[in-house]
């Protein structure tokens, strides 16, 4: 399918320069290369040109032009994606970095309207002044953008209480290849007025539209929080405690799991001494002072009933930060063990979590990989970190192990991505994951982007799209 798309010509560059200004268009090697890769363990795919639009109208015109000329267009936010959302068919990267303004903070209605290039942490820093926050909290918050989060339905450490990005996007202003600029959604938290196109666009990874503005619902910052770490001598004890906490409807804000190998890595790099345990749970409760405290008390008694043999409680802000630094330092610490690390993002029915961790270990052993597990276990999201240390020759086995786990997860009713998305990495699972209903997604894609210019090769295989029988 190499000839399906047109190459970018000097006439196209002239057009883009006229539209966006020559400072905002580059074919310089250094700009092509730095827009050719994300945070996935993958290769470089250089686009032919990079554009930094400053207005929604420019985005619309770029899409219209690219559609006419059949040139691929890849939107890009912070470039922290973990699934290889890179210009595999070359064409234009539309980098949203210049559209990074907070347009309006509506304090009374607890909402904010932002351009897509606003960085997550920067937004929350600004919102703090109003006692509000946008909760999804991905670990990449220092660098990922709201546009990228909406396109990936990102979430993080506190999803068990606050949910994912999807729960917070009330509306978009979005540019479509054939349908121009559309305002979608309302300022209300619910409505019953036909299809929810807003929700459909979340997680679309730049394949249906480019978001030019995003309207987010916010939450008040919690008045108080309690944080504890609990240690278990078996993974099954830890997962039993998780299950009971969820089953009893206890209101936890975080329920994070770390296994022994991860604790080992954290201990080495963060210099934190853990007890000799097979698993650690980090538990946090939010609410009024009384509510957060009482809810934590209940969690702790469940933990104790289920074999939690040691409990650390954070009695100060510094203590809390230290406990979180252990959890947040988990992925970085694993990375320090060696540069070839692949992270899986499977999500599993709660009742199968122990089995999933054991499965990961046995697959890891089979391929001779260093295997460690962390997870947002409150919602069943397991990240297995597969590593070969610094042995680049074994990279293939990382992918094979991950593939084996992914297929098993689908077979037990789980999903291959809880929060990172599909990208180039997981598109081969789409049919397996969704069965016949995958064809519905293809139909929607064809309807909104009939020339497949938006992010070709991402989430969908171009061959699948071109194969009209699909």
């Amino acid at each position: 399918m190499t000839n399906y798309f047109s190459k970018v010509s000097s006439k196209d560059i002239d057009y883009l320069e006229k539209l966006c200004g020559s400072n905002n268009v580059s074919t310089d090697e250094e700009d092509l290369v730095t827009n050719a890769i994300d945070a996935q363990l993958g290769g470089f795919h250089k686009p032919e040109v990079v554009v930094w639009p400053e207005t929604s109208e420019q985005v619309v015109e770029i899409l219209k032009y690219a559609d006419e000329k059949k040139i691929p267009v890849y939107p890009r936010g912070g470039g922290t994606g973990l699934t290889g959302t890179v210009p595999v068919h070359r064409g234009i990267v539309v980098n949203m970095k210049k559209m990074n303004k907070i347009v309006e903070i509506d304090e009374e209605n607890m909402q904010v309207r932002v351009q897509p290039g606003v960085v997550y942490d920067a937004l929350n820093k600004e919102l703090e002044r109003y006692g509000l926050f946008f909760p999804p909290d991905p670990s990449s918050g220092a660098a990922c953008t709201i546009g990228g989060m909406a396109a990936s339905n990102a979430s993080g450490l506190k999803a068990v209480k606050y949910g994912t990005t999807r729960e917070y996007v009330l509306g978009f202003e979005a540019a479509f290849p054939r349908d121009g600029l559309q305002r979608l959604g309302t300022k209300t938290f619910k409505y019953s007025l036909g299809f929810d196109v807003v929700k459909m666009l979340i997680g679309s990874q730049g394949t249906l539209a480019i978001f030019t503005e995003i309207n987010l619902r916010l939450r008040p910052l919690p008045e108080s929080m309690e944080t504890s770490a609990a240690f278990f001598s078996s993974i099954s004890d830890a997962t039993k405690a998780i299950y009971k906490i969820i089953r009893q409807g206890l209101d936890v804000a975080a329920l994070e799991f770390m296994d022994k190998p991860t604790m080992g890595a954290v201990s080495e790099f963060k210099k934190i001494e853990f007890p000799n345990a097979e698993a650690m749970l980090l538990i946090e409760t939010h609410g009024s002072k009384k509510a957060a405290y009482e809810e934590m008390e209940r969690c702790i008694s469940v933990v104790k009933e289920n074999g939690g043999f040691e409990i650390w409680h954070a009695s100060s802000k510094e203590d809390r930060e230290r406990l979180w630094s252990a959890r947040k330092g988990a992925y970085p610490s694993v990375l320090k063990l060696g540069r070839f690390t692949l992270i899986s993002d499977v999500i599993i029915p709660l009742s199968r979590l122990v089995e999933a961790v054991e499965k990961a270990y046995s697959i890891g052993k089979k391929y001779g990989l260093r295997t460690s597990c962390i997870g947002h276990f409150g919602d069943g999201n397991l990240h297995v970190n597969w590593g070969t240390g610094d042995n680049g020759e074994k990279i293939e086995s990382l992918h094979r192990a991950n593939d084996e786990l992914n297929r098993w997860v689908i077979s037990i009713g789980g999903a291959v991505s809880g929060e990172h998305g599909i990208g180039t990495e997981k598109k081969s699972y789409m049919r397996l994951q969704h069965g016949e209903s995958y064809n519905l997604m293809i139909k929607i894609k064809r309807l909104l982007d009939p020339n497949y210019i938006l992010s070709p090769g991402i989430a969908f295989d171009l061959d699948d799209l071109l194969n009209k029988s699909g």
């Binding site: 090697e29 290369v33 730095t34 922290t80 980098n95 220092a142 660098a143």
Partner: protein, 409 residues
């Protein structure tokens, strides 16, 4: 035609750092030069620089690392080391960038900055003439033409005598509390000499014998300009000299955080030997000396409670001296408001014509906050103080200047 050096050769051990970068972009979030108007392009950010080197290693980048395009991008790293605090993979970012810069072409201004210690010494020998030069339009034009120093950038005046000479003349105290070698660095030696003299006098009153063993500049600029051989030479000289001093039961003391970082972090890394490790272990900043004196009950502080700003200079952060500096100021009676933003000068980087506007843009947020605060400002770094004095109307001081008059012996 001169042969291009391969990335592996240029980087040596640091190639591994490039490869282990996971491209998370956390470094961008704290990097002062990655958050200004020009950094909308990823290539002009901290992560972008590492990605370019990864691409070179994978033979994807069609530019040589010696090329102007790449060298200009590397020049946007001014070595503040803020990124080191957040990089999850432990990539030694500024250190590896120095190595890439070392493959760049040699230019007159680079030569000057690399040997700035020598030129500063010459300048200090003829202070009247030097000051005339740095203050006159003609002199500034000349500096701009030859050395690329922007004519509007702040530039320090020469004091006249050097601190080194002062110490040699006045090191008469018997020093029953011990011997201290002051590792001075250029700015305190030739420009901020008064601060140096007051510090030496204070230490002598505390019963120390203060000396100035033979020493060169700290060499920060040599590193920044990628003159690694020169940096190693400077490190060798300073370490050998300080080691001799320490051997006879002495300690090395610093006033400038750049001097402290050189002895504690850079020299051991450049030389990798036992001597530099021992010198690092025996180096202490004046702030910690005063805190030790306080903890041992030898000094007390007396002064009115006063509001003040504490500016976190990049090198104080890198030196991990922040907690000490804050504690000292608080003991002396200051109620601190903290500003973490970078002032944008980064040694000499902000003075250079091509960076001058960016330097100002980086510092703008801090300048505005300082103007609004309307309080005296403490900053440990000498060049930060130069920049803040230039761009704000507030009183800008080294922490010692606010503390010394409040010490009761």
């Amino acid at each position: 035609m001169f042969r291009q050096r391969t990335l592996d050769k240029v980087l040596n051990d640091y190639l591994y750092d490039v490869l282990k970068c996971v491209r998370c972009g956390f470094c961008n979030s704290v990097c002062p030069t990655s958050n200004i108007s020009l950094s909308y392009r990823d290539s002009r950010t901290s992560r972008g620089r590492i990605v370019l080197l990864q691409a070179k290693h994978s033979s994807v980048l069609n530019l040589s690392i010696e090329s102007n395009a790449i060298q200009e991008l590397m020049d946007l790293c001014f070595g503040c080391r803020r990124c080191l605090e957040v990089c999850p993979a432990g990539v030694r970012i500024p250190q590896l960038i120095w190595r890439v810069k070392s493959s760049g072409p040699l230019r007159l201004n680079k030569f000057f900055y690399t040997y700035y210690g020598t030129f500063e010494k010459l300048g200090a020998m003829i202070p009247t003439l030097s000051n005339l030069l740095v203050k006159s339009n003609f002199g500034r034009t000349l500096l701009e033409q030859i050395l690329d120093i922007d004519r509007n950038a702040p530039f320090p005046s020469f004091y006249g005598d050097s601190l080194e000479k002062y110490i040699k003349k006045h090191s008469s105290s018997n020093g029953d509390r011990g011997r201290l070698a002051l590792f001075i660095d250029v700015f305190t030696n030739y420009h901020d000499v008064e601060l140096g003299i007051r510090t030496v006098n204070l230490l002598q009153r505390l019963g120390y014998r203060v000396e100035a063993p033979p020493q060169m500049e700290a060499g920060t600029l040599a590193l920044e300009f990628g003159a690694l051989k020169r940096a190693v030479k400077i490190a060798r000289f300073n370490i050998d000299s300080m080691y001799e001093f320490i051997k006879n039961d002495g300690k090395v003391i610093t006033i400038s955080p750049a001097a402290y970082v050189a002895l504690k972090i850079d020299y051991p890394e450049l030389l990798g030997d036992e001597k530099s490790r021992i010198v690092a272990e025996n180096t202490i900043d004046i702030v910690d000396i005063l805190l030790n004196e306080y903890d041992d009950g030898r000094i007390r502080f007396k002064g009115p409670v006063e509001n003040a700003v504490y500016h976190h200079s990049c090198f104080t952060k890198a030196a991990r001296l922040t907690t000490s500096v804050k504690r000292l100021l608080e003991l002396a009676g200051y109620k601190l408001t903290e500003f973490e933003e970078c002032c944008g000068i980064a040694g000499i980087w902000g003075l250079i014509k091509k960076h001058h506007e960016a330097s100002r843009e980086i510092g703008n947020k801090l300048f505005t906050k300082i103007e609004h605060a309307q309080m005296p400002v403490f900053s440990q770094s000498e060049t930060c103080r130069l920049q803040l004095k230039h761009y704000t109307n507030s009183r800008i001081m080294h922490p010692l200047e606010g503390v010394m008059d409040r010490i009761l012996l």
